[in-house]
Symmetry: C2
Subunit: 445 residues, 2 copies
Amino acid sequence: MPDPGPTPLPPGRPAPAPRFGAPALADALARTAAPAAAAPTGRALPTRPVLPFGTAPAAPAGPPPEHPPPPAAPAHSADALLRIVSGPSGLGTTALHWARSAEAPAVPELPAVPELPAPAASRPIPGLYHHPVPEPDPVRVEELSRRIKAWATDEVQAFPPEWEDQFDGFSVSRYMVACHPDAPTIDHLMVAARLMVAENVVDDAYCEDGATSPDVGGRLLLAHTALDPLHTTEEYRPAWEESLSSDAARRCYRSAMEYFTQLAAPSQADRFRHEMSRLHLGYLAEAAWDATEYVPEVWEYLAMRQFNNFRPCPTITDTVGGYELPAELHALPAMQRVIALAGNATTLANDLYSYMKELKSPGKHLNLPVVIAEKEGLSDKAAYLKAVEVHNDLMHAFEAESAALAAACPDPRVARFLRGVAAWVDGNHYWHASNTYRYTLPDFW
Amino acid sequence: MPDPGPTPLPPGRPAPAPRFGAPALADALARTAAPAAAAPTGRALPTRPVLPFGTAPAAPAGPPPEHPPPPAAPAHSADALLRIVSGPSGLGTTALHWARSAEAPAVPELPAVPELPAPAASRPIPGLYHHPVPEPDPVRVEELSRRIKAWATDEVQAFPPEWEDQFDGFSVSRYMVACHPDAPTIDHLMVAARLMVAENVVDDAYCEDGATSPDVGGRLLLAHTALDPLHTTEEYRPAWEESLSSDAARRCYRSAMEYFTQLAAPSQADRFRHEMSRLHLGYLAEAAWDATEYVPEVWEYLAMRQFNNFRPCPTITDTVGGYELPAELHALPAMQRVIALAGNATTLANDLYSYMKELKSPGKHLNLPVVIAEKEGLSDKAAYLKAVEVHNDLMHAFEAESAALAAACPDPRVARFLRGVAAWVDGNHYWHASNTYRYTLPDFW
């Protein structure tokens, strides 16, 4: 899992960077036009209410840029993108966040963008493309904070008493309220918060500096069975069941998953298991490189980081929002690409915010600036700034592909899911930028 | 991947062993009744013809048992099971294979079971519960053999010339024709055959004895991107694309996946990626235990083997059969349990057939008999015979849960998929029992 900062805001920039992968997208949409078109009138899904998205945050226009804007995008201008975004109709599509940019007021059909102050404590990385969010609802944050701590300490004994400061400093409740503005209840937020805590406990206990051992492959697989259960004989099942309460990692996974599956449809649970198997593959690749002191090529690092990635978190946005993106729509290659781009962008944001923290950790901790510096012979500062650009390119690609998919697949659940992923990306950035307990920025500006 | 023997047949035994997990099944079916019931009249799926299953093999009654029958099953008698199986109606449900047993003629509504001779070269493990299959169509076998070899040698250079004997001895064409009796064309069989070859090449190149290296976690992840593509920037994408042709493992994965996705719906491709990420997690757990010389508890071994498992192969049965089991039905907990039980039974059959082969390999090769002998203090023979019983228990559980699911979820696609999984299990057993090039049996009888 990515290890989930400071200065005035660079602007929201609506124009996407050069689009890549357009042929793949076109191919995907061509392959999938029939089910997408048929979806709105199709078979009833396990019903949970599809809620209006009234709590969605409105993004501010932001202060003037400190850095020059990117070159004009060759494939879509900002206006063209906004026209694409205005294509889909249906529940909540007017609130697609990527239309909420500095240029949004130029498009009359989009809602006015209120001017919101940046959160007082938020210190975004200069030049990092992002969308600010309003401060999360303090009432929700407080209630979620109380409940998630009770779960962590009383129900699953997630950490020893001496880790309490770190748990509090992680601010998981503020994090989850920021990332899931459409969660209908605290119960829904608890589902996200438990999984987030569980994922971090497993990472800390099995994978982070000093915790990795040569048998991490075996340990992670046994922990994975708390998510994806063992099916075996009566003789051997009890020992497996007992193992699920034998350490904090498995206690957290099991409990968090049990609550999750009470809320999720089977295909949402299956989706989450898949994401977690990807995450565990990513952990194991990173562990292997650490054990062999291998410094990967930049593309290899990016591949590993597509797996050791935040992706399990935004992809539960529909469960936490109380609705379901049907599996056929989730599996569309264009949707998979959007999710991957969002996950990659937000995971690299984590690399950038945790750069100083990781510099202080023992041994060489791989992150994108470190790998770029070593493999491309750049200074630390130049490598860091290049990593910012890689992140920005991925963010632009995510937004362009997301808008194109929303236009091509006018199903309100698609629009809402895409908006949920974007809200998660924005909330995740907010949390990093405002979490001064964990993160400080390098002196590169 | 499991490393994919001899004597007259023990009988097909229709009565399931004690059912385990009934509460989980009931819970699953209760949770999912609505979508299952609604499915047949629901939204149109990407259309591929649903074909009559006229080529399904009829299983013989088999010769009389050499071993005493198991104790009477407490939950279902054979008759009760057959009545359950006769419940579902729809395309092809009369051919659900688990009804084709030695006792089938006692139930008048089931078709008569023709007496087929056991394949001449088949030497099943005594006492191993299985269903014999007729010899695969030699015309299909020959044509598939020609085409898969051309793919392996000309298109992807899957192996060096000195491995040609091993490739031929693997008999992948006979294997796949036996496992996919409802494949409408050789093109469909080629999809299964390419993936099977690719999975074995990756296993041989990265994971099998002598090939495992401390960086296997990194290598497998990079290979996995040939199935689950990297989404990155224009600058780094070309190096990743080049990597996909840089070794036989990735060439095989990439090509096999490309062909597969031409035939598969997006959710079928997503399902397969999930199965492959499970497989790779299993490889990495096994590699970690090998590296640390850890001998797992029996339940731990069974957990690892649920991942390092044949499961990716039977779960493409619908794609190879030219139809689609919708993702919502595939994700049902009861369906996931059936698939896991089938995968576990058939994977343990592999442990039993490859026991002698693995005894001869360098170092200690973990398999179920070896782990039982070491952890439970049994003789090699007693451990082997106990492993046979574990296999049989899982087979009985698979059949009981499969029948219950077919009855509870009367969707013809569910029935056909379940039958396809069962056909795969049977074909896989046939291949092991008849592959005297690879396997010999211990002298335990």
